[in-house]
């Protein structure tokens, strides 16, 4: 086990290095920040002065090694645009994204599993066929369209939910939360649904498939014939066994939701990290973009390792040697 974890950690570091290298190459060719940094009216000489001041005149490998050396010490450089540390800028936005992603996962998991079980019991009932068709619709429809449609219906025509932002927030330590005020919760509903919609459909289909398989097993037939109440058969005997892949999927997708909530955050003007990333790309704010991608890679990597390790505990049949 120990050697396995060490090996995974070393792999993780290699992946992070590769990610940072690719980021660096891409953003070197995606715009020159000096033109903005020096101001619209700067002369060529003044631009060169700014380039020097920010160390952008150095050869690529020096810039890169300096970046890695600093990153190893937890220093990620200053944003070119707002001129404050990029890491702080991202961490300020972190709570908003985590709250959004957690709510999305919560919605996706409860509704996905609930509906999945419901559908698996009577797969050919008309209502359940509608649910399945709906889930297919959810998988195929792009997030930005879902978001805009939800805004149009619930904020513009019905006027029951706010269309954008986080509403009132409360700060506890460094964590700014919207979960403790009513306004914060109403603001969360639409974006969380939009973000969780795809996940919901995936989990629904996964649960249904798993349940249908498990329900045909001998031990379920035994349970029925023993005369156990349906609730016990379905939830205790069947669902528990069908749930293993669903839990894995949820765990893996959680990291992705945190890292890639960009579209949803932009549509709802949700002040999270995705929103910041998009603005930073528009402004070619390289330090923020690279830091963000490194953090996203780190989060996904750690979640993967955690899921792998948990697997070994959950299923004694799996051995990592």
């Amino acid at each position: 086990m120990f050697t396995y974890i060490t090996r995974r950690l070393i792999q993780g570091v290699v992946v992070l290095l590769a990610v940072s290298f690719i980021c660096f190459i891409i953003f070197r060719y995606a715009g020159d920040p000096v033109v903005t940094l020096a101001g619209r009216y700067a002369t060529l000489q003044e631009r060169e002065m700014v380039r020097k001041a920010f160390g952008l005149d150095r050869p690529f490998y020096i810039q890169y090694t300096r970046f890695i050396a600093n990153a190893a010490q937890g220093k990620f450089g200053k944003s070119f645009v707002s001129r404050v540390p990029a890491f702080g800028l991202i961490m300020e936005r972190f709570p908003a994204t985590v709250e959004l992603a957690t709510s999305a996962v919560f919605i996706a998991f409860t509704m996905g599993v609930g509906l999945g079980v419901l559908v698996s019991l009577k797969p050919y009932a008309l209502r359940n066929r509608f649910i399945m068709a709906g889930s297919l619709f959810n998988i195929s429809i792009p997030t930005f369209l879902t978001g805009i449609l939800l805004i149009m219906v619930f904020a513009v025509y019905l006027g029951v939910l706010p269309p954008f932002g986080r509403g009132e927030t409360v700060t506890i330590g460094f964590w700014r939360t919207g979960l403790l005020t009513w306004s914060g919760i109403t603001h969360l509903i639409l974006p969380a649904f939009t973000l969780g919609m795809y996940q919901l459909a995936v989990l629904l289909r996964l649960t249904r498939a798993g349940m249908r398989e498990v329900l045909t097993e001998e031990y379920i037939k035994t349970a029925w014939s023993k005369g156990l109440p349906p609730r016990k058969v379905i939830f205790k005997h069947a669902l528990r066994n069908a749930l293993i892949p669903v839990v894995t999927m949820t765990g893996l997708q959680f990291g992705e939701l945190i890292a890639f909530s960009i579209v949803t955050e932009t549509i709802f003007q949700w002040p999270g990290m995705g929103n910041l990333l998009l603005i930073s790309i528009y402004e070619s704010d390289q330090p923020v973009i690279v830091t963000y991608i490194m953090l996203a890679a780190l989060i996904i990597l750690s979640l993967n390792i955690i899921v792998d390790v948990l697997y070994a505990y959950l299923n004694p049949k799996i051995r990592y040697e």
């Binding site: 020159d32 700067a42 060529l44 707002s82 029951v160 954008f164 910041l276 070619s284």
Partner: protein, 508 residues
Amino acid sequence: MKRTFMLLLLGIFIGTLLSLTGQAIGASSIVAAVDTPPRTMNPHGSDADANLSVMANFFEGLLQRKAPKGDLFPALAERYEHPDLLTWKLYLRKGVRFHNGNPFTAEDVKFSFERLSNPDVSEFINTGKSIALIDIIDDYTVVIKTKEPIPWFANNLHQIYMMDKESTEARDPGEAEVKPIGTGAYKLVEWVKGSYVKMVANEDYWEGPPPIKNVEMRPITESSTRFAALVSGQAELVSGVPVELYEKVLQNPKLEVITRPARRSIFLALGNKPGSPTADIRVRKAMYMAINEDEIIEKIMRGHAAPAAQIPDPPTIGYNPEIKRLAYNPEMARKLLKEAGYEKGFEITLSGPNDRYVQDAKIAEAVAKYLAKVGIKAKLDVKPKSIFFPQVARGEFEFYLIGWFDGTFDMGRTYFKLGHTRGEGYGELNGTNYSDPSIDTLLDPTGSIVEPEKRKKVLQDLNKMAMVDKIVWIPLHYQQDIYAIQKGKGIKFQPRPDRWIVFKEISK
């Protein structure tokens, strides 16, 4: 039974939501939704208009521009003298205090101007470096000497904001990037990046306290969401209404649309590399005549633009009313191309940004189609502004779409930047390396012409030569700024030419 109970619960839930989301915005408060978020609260940290606009509420320059025409008025300086070409003597306003209580004096002026040349905190390097020395005569008199004559020096003073020397030096530099201390009509309450900027009236403001006491400015970058915020009553004033939603806003009885001709003109820059087809004036003329600008305005801009015949807009010094557009005439264009020996046309690459101006990529597309009709194959090369503008700065294009307006209301600076042959101090945004000695010789001496009438005349002549005789650029149109406000709330709002939203000018 169970079902009716659930429905009842749902009804109660939605009802509570309804009652809570329709929160009223008080009479002395305003919520404005803007299209671009502020980047920093450091008044010298960004020269983008979106940022200068927010800063204008916390900080002030020595002079200020006021709605609706953008004329210059005194602000932190009561008056100024310009005894010789290089010298500006400024008499400061007495009794003005910063938000932290410190008095505003000549020391602060010197400090603020010197801060401009520090690349760590400033995007106004050019202005900072143009100053030779700053002399403090007494607490309320300052003399600024520039290295070279700058005729537009005073015209620029409204966007050079004054900071408090004592607190800026004492504070951590990072804090000065997020917590503004100025002399402006509003103080910052809270800035949550990506969410809102909350401001409260400065009751000790030297012009008197502003009528609106609490301001909440929310950046919403996505235009359909901004529209939703307005319709659902969550915002009372919205800037940057997209042309495709204009009709919708107009039809809504709760909303009022306010439009204003924008200062920004959209035009095509065309290189004249010797030996290339576009070095021939007949070809340049043909390309101009081949473009049906009226159709672009009608179909692509949906009527929200006005045809332009030159780069500067009417209030700019150097605007020449005698310059007229060349009429759309594809037959004539074909004839001119034939005369020039390009009967079969030629190939050219048309570059442009796709995220900077209203419908920018679509306009470029239309231009390429019009040119194709007279036989010129224009290959489209549109890209994000973060890639496009550095290429302009490096002079890598042969033909591109761009927009411009000059914050100083003086055409001279624009022409030096865009039209002069590239060199140190000139033509840094001349992205095609256009070069014409007769333009340069006419432009060079304008730096030392300050007397207004004479300056106007010289710049007008230069403008005419560039647009009529040389066709340095092919002008397209002036954009239109579109705002929307909630009707029946008594909001009095006059848009400014520079698109800034200065809340002390708004009342309710």
